[in-house]
């Protein structure tokens, strides 16, 4: 089932066009990765769909729907927090420093209409499912008392509390150690397999893309230059921009 369909999305700031004619189809349970070097437009594309670009950005689009609902001109922002969940690079930036993490997840459940009496139990269950050890005690912690990996699990829990059909994950493991990254990737993989959540993944780590993505879209200077299945794009890259992205991964013969 098609969840998200976008045709010819363009974004400009003044005279400068930062994204040109971007098109995307995202199906239920599918992971599509947007890759590209810094400034290629991958985060711009995601933020435009979420309605999170600054007001000075000019957005043009031919067609954009999520679950059949027109996204523009209202953008996806009314869907954020329940049908669409977001996970960003810096887990601590997604959390309010002076509120206990359990209360923050409770609030995400509140937004999606879960009755107050059930929220705490659901919070603990969700943290448990995400592999947070001693979840009940940890839900009373403040963000600064948790490691980066645990904070990212809390951020994922907040995104999942709304029972989203789609996750937008922008460099979700870039700030984490590789051993911790593995645990977060295992969670994301499990969410797509068990909950059939679709994921729009933004990453420049080709190992992460290889492990999670079904399809890959390569952006360069705001334009899509290559797209295809993950094995086609990563194993036989055609465009020089894709080859450059894969080159660093191979310098040390990263196994």
């Amino acid at each position: 089932m098609t969840l998200l369909q976008v045709q010819n999305l363009s974004v400009s700031y003044g005279n400068q066009r930062v994204l040109s004619d971007f098109s995307l189809t995202l199906n239920q349970g599918e992971t599509v990765a947007l890759i590209g070097s810094s400034g290629s437009g991958k985060t711009t594309a995601a933020l435009a769909l979420l309605g999170l670009l600054s007001p000075s950005a000019r957005v043009d689009v031919r067609h954009a729907t999520f679950e059949g609902i027109d996204l523009f001109p209202r953008h996806a922002s009314p869907l954020l927090g329940h049908r669409i969940g977001c996970v960003f690079q810096d887990p601590r930036a997604s959390l309010t420093p002076h509120i206990r993490v359990g209360d923050q997840i409770d609030e995400a459940f509140e937004v999606s209409g879960v009755p107050p009496a059930d929220r705490r139990q659901k919070t603990v269950l969700l943290l448990d499912e995400l592999g947070v050890p001693d979840a009940r005690a940890r839900s009373d912690a403040y963000p600064h008392e948790l490691s980066g990996g645990l904070c990212q699990r809390v951020a994922i829990a907040m995104a999942l509390a709304g029972m989203p059909a789609c996750l937008v994950a922008d460099e979700p493991t870039t700030a984490l150690d590789v051993t911790v990254q593995i645990q977060v990737l295992k969670i994301l993989r499990r969410m797509t397999e068990q909950r059939r959540v679709a994921t729009l993944l933004i990453s420049h780590d080709m190992g992460v893309v290889a492990a999670l993505a079904d399809r890959v879209i390569v952006l360069d200077h705001g334009s899509v230059v290559e797209e295809g299945t993950v094995s086609n794009v990563l194993e036989s890259p055609r465009h020089p921009a894709t080859q450059a992205l894969l080159a660093h991964a191979s310098i040390g013969g990263r196994q």
Binding site: S37, G131, P133, V178, T179, A249, I251, G252, R254
Partner: protein, 317 residues
């Protein structure tokens, strides 16, 4: 070959007021040979950056000796003579942070030479040209300010600033993390060229195993403040002995989709735990731990038949 940096039994403890003390580096010893690169790898909180900062004389150490180019580094950062600081230069993760945003980068390079007295004023221009060329930077960039440069250009300019001082030892703390893959590739090749063609030695702090494999001659793996394995890069990365080193290397995902998925599925669920009160710090996460791992703290001992390869694990040796 002579060691230009020797670290022996160094301890660094942080004592924040009102909080319990943290032993960030415990009994660390290492030696960096002239013209080579030694990598410190490990997860955040393992003490690798703290050890690098102690080497730079930026933070005090509690005990142990550090010798830079044969001279003893004072324990107190305030007592480190300028002449010692000149011979080693840091390069940090955030390339912009090393460049004053108000200054044209050309003036920053001049100031670095003026402060360190590395070359005569008449030679400033020639010295700048040498390093701008070596780093593939266009001279037109000298009149720009930091915000007018790309991330890769900023990182190379920060390198140029370090090199015009005449330093022969660089302390590179996650030098590529802030760059995107094409810029990472270019920067890795530059760093290798600095070592090979210019004899620049480096202490590399990184968790990018690809960069370590590419640049470093020797590796020391840190876990919770201790060096748990060390040796030449080939031995440690191809034949890891310590269970933590093995886990770290297995966690670097291949870029072939089938292999990456297989690896992700095969790695065990693993929780980073509190520091145990006794025994090996990795024991609570370790699949090979035996009873004594929870009691005794293992010390580094030589791996039989591994030249210079040492590991702190009684189970695998």
């Amino acid at each position: 070959m002579t060691s230009i940096l020797e670290v022996k039994d160094v301890d660094v403890t942080f004592r924040p007021s009102g909080l319990p003390a943290t032993r960030a580096v415990i009994g660390a010893s290492l030696a960096l040979r002239q013209g080579t690169s030694l990598a410190l790898v490990g997860e955040s909180g393992s003490g690798k950056t703290t050890l690098a900062r102690a080497v730079l004389g930026l933070i005090p150490r509690d005990s142990g000796e550090i010798k830079v180019f044969g001279d003893a580094l004072p324990k107190n950062p305030r007592e480190v003579p300028l002449a010692m600081r000149r011979r080693m230069q840091p390069l940090f993760q955030d390339p912009g942070a090393s460049l004053d945003p108000m200054w044209r980068v050309g003036d920053l390079l001049m100031e670095a030479m003026e402060v360190t007295g590395s070359v005569e004023q008449a030679q400033y221009d020639a010295e700048i040209s040498i390093w701008m060329n070596a780093l593939g930077l266009d001279r037109d960039l000298l009149t720009r300010r930091a915000h007018e440069l790309s991330g890769g250009q900023k990182q190379r300019m920060a390198l140029a600033r370090a090199l015009v001082t005449g330093a022969k030892l660089l302390v590179l703390d996650e030098p590529l993390t802030a760059l995107d893959p094409p810029a990472q590739r270019a920067a890795s090749e530059l760093l290798l060229n600095l070592k090979r063609a210019h004899g620049i030695s480096s202490l590399l702090v990184s968790h990018d195993i690809g960069l370590v494999r590419f640049l470093a001659d020797d590796v020391a793996v840190m876990y919770r403040g201790r060096i748990v394995e060390s040796g030449c890069t080939e031995d440690v990365l191809a034949k890891p002995k310590h269970p933590y080193t093995s886990l770290l290397l297995a966690s670097v995902l291949p870029t072939q989709p089938l292999a990456a998925r297989g690896r992700l599925a095969s790695l065990p669920e693993d929780h980073v735990t509190e520091q145990p009160l006794a025994g090996c710090a990795f024991a609570p996460r370790c699949l090979h731990a035996i009873a004594k791992c929870h009691i005794d703290t293992p010390s580094l001992s030589a791996v039989p038949s591994g030249a210079g390869h040492a590991v702190a694990c009684p189970v695998v040796v």
